[in-house]
């Protein structure tokens, strides 16, 4: 079995609120192998974003442990091992597309992860259809193009772990499918591990190697469902029986959770 990139063991987290505790995550355990693409799916508020924050060390779990490539979350973050893709584009409006893509590389330069060279970044931008927008500003781009910049920014960092928090949730269905396969194309060459949070079942199945299903709050892993589709993935695979069977399986697991 391949080496693990992320190891989560019995991770729990609750938040103090004005009227008592909110138990967000309860004993979450799963592994993600190196260069694996794993989706986390679960209803709103079940602690998916919280899970990502625990993994990159911006929050600490109440109990349980998280290991990232043999490091603690804090160490991994300090060494810039994470490329984070937030739910909204989070592009800086005063920077050009090119500058936005270099942003993470230029921050915390003592971490020893310089990321992609400038010329490679340009190459990357050209490859994903942003060649004529290098000096444009984010507000001059459509939502889909903005999201492309975000993806480019994440890959430009050349981080071993990509944490993506519902990155395509604000896009329309067609753009969303495009973006998914673009993401796969870039990821297949990168060798990075992806933890992809989503609330779209078809997206989770189409993109990932395995789907981690979380229960409603407190989030707990009900099942980890492998996706029996080969790589590289193509849109045409969404017509296969294997795809539809997995889709049904994930859907049934979530439905069973929500009704119980």
């Amino acid at each position: 079995m391949a080496e693990s990139s992320l190891v989560l063991t019995d991770v729990s987290k609750s938040f103090q609120h004005r009227d008592g505790f909110i138990h967000a995550l309860s004993k979450v355990s799963f592994n993600v192998r190196k260069a694996e693409f794993v989706s986390v799916i679960g209803p709103s508020g079940c602690g998916k974003s919280t899970l990502l924050r625990l993994i990159n060390g911006l929050r600490t779990p109440d109990s349980g442990s998280i290991v990232v490539n043999g490091l603690t979350p804090d160490e991994a973050r300090q060494q810039k091992k994470f490329a984070f893709v937030p739910q909204n584009p989070a592009l800086l409006p005063w920077l050009t597309v090119q500058q936005n893509v270099s942003l993470l590389n230029n921050l915390n330069s003592r971490a020893g992860n310089p990321g992609m060279a400038f010329s490679d970044q340009r190459q990357l931008l050209k490859r994903i259809g942003l060649g004529s927008f290098l000096n444009a500003h984010p507000w001059e781009l459509s939502g889909g193009l903005q999201q492309r910049v975000c993806i480019a920014r994440a890959f430009a960092l050349k981080a071993p772990v990509l944490l993506m928090d519902e990155p395509f949730s604000s896009l329309d269905e067609i753009t969303r499918t495009d973006m998914g396969y673009l993401l796969l194309k870039l990821w297949e060459h990168s060798g990075s591990t992806v933890l992809f949070v989503t609330h779209s079942i078809p997206e989770a199945v189409a993109l990932s190697d395995r789907v981690v299903v979380l229960t409603p709050r407190p989030g707990h892993v009900t099942e980890i469902i492998p996706v029996p589709l080969s790589r590289p993935r193509q849109v045409s695979m969404e017509d296969s029986t294997a795809y539809h069977q997995t889709l049904t399986e994930v859907r049934a697991t979530i439905a069973a959770e929500c009704s119980s």
Partner: protein, 274 residues
């Protein structure tokens, strides 16, 4: 020449005309204001002591350029010094406040105290402390402008987008990087808004101080005119002051347009009739 070419040129000409119109719009606004004033005084036959005609006042300014220049530049220097001092102190204090809960709690009452302080009442004290130097005037201008600067700087430094902040933290960006590359650019629109308000306040602060304790500046010329019933000089001082204020605000707007090209407030689609 083809027809399409002709109409294309026509539209660029129209665009140019529109740009020119927008450029001289402030001038037209002022002209309309002055002309209505002039007409009103002439028609109503109001006495010059109550309200002189603007043409007479402007005539007085034109006849005494050196006088107004000298006093105007005093006021301008004092107001600018107060304005910039207030700006830098405010940004510094807001920076401390945004980085430390303690500083924020400790400073908030001071801000309120400064805001509610009857500066005018303290002017004689300033004279005792600093004598007949520019300092009482600079400090008055500063006290008039400090609060809008602090509150806006604080809001601007603080209201960074949560996701962007989290993105910075995800690579362990330093506080300095978050400050310099995220908070500061984010606060610029707020600071420009404050700046526009503070231009008038700084001039007012300088003039108020000059009015009571100075031998120069437009506040002083207004005071002298007031006590000797020199109507033309009184209104002349007021008009020069207004002219300075308008010019500076327009300059500030131009700088803002250059620096905040990225901000929605500067995008043409957010301007009226577009």
């Amino acid at each position: 020449m083809s027809k399409t070419n002709h109409s294309a040129r026509l539209t660029t000409n129209m665009q140019r005309a529109r740009k020119l119109l927008l450029l001289i719009a402030p001038l037209m606004g002022v002209t309309v204001f002055l002309v209505s004033w002039e007409v009103y005084v002439r028609v109503s036959g109001i006495r010059p002591l109550i309200l002189p005609r603007p043409s007479v006042v402007i005539g007085h300014i034109v006849e005494h350029p050196a006088f107004y220049w000298k006093h105007g530049s005093f006021t301008l220097l004092e107001a600018s010094a107060g304005f910039f001092l207030a700006f830098f102190v405010a940004v510094f204090v807001a920076t401390l406040m945004v980085h430390s809960e303690f500083m924020q709690r400790a400073t908030m009452p001071v801000v309120v105290i400064v805001q509610s302080m009857p500066v005018v009442v303290l002017l004689p004290l300033f004279l005792l402390w600093f004598g007949f130097s520019p300092w009482p005037k600079i400090i008055t201008a500063m006290l008039f402008t400090w609060v809008p600067f602090v509150t806006n700087a604080l809001t601007g430094l603080r209201s960074v987008d949560t996701s962007t902040h989290e993105l910075f933290k995800s690579v362990n960006a330093t506080r300095w990087e978050i400050y310099w590359r995220l908070r500061i650019p984010n606060s610029l629109p707020y600071l420009f808004s404050a700046g526009r308000v503070c231009v008038g306040l700084a001039l007012m602060g300088a003039v108020v101080a000059e009015f009571f304790l100075s031998k120069d500046g437009l506040g002083h010329t207004a005071y002298v005119a007031y006590s000797r019933l020199l109507v033309e000089q009184l209104w002349g001082s007021v008009i020069v002051l207004a002219f300075m204020g308008v010019t500076i605000v327009l300059l500030l707007n131009a700088v803002e347009q250059k620096m905040l090209y990225w901000h929605p407030s500067q995008h043409e689609r957010n301007h009226p009739a577009k």
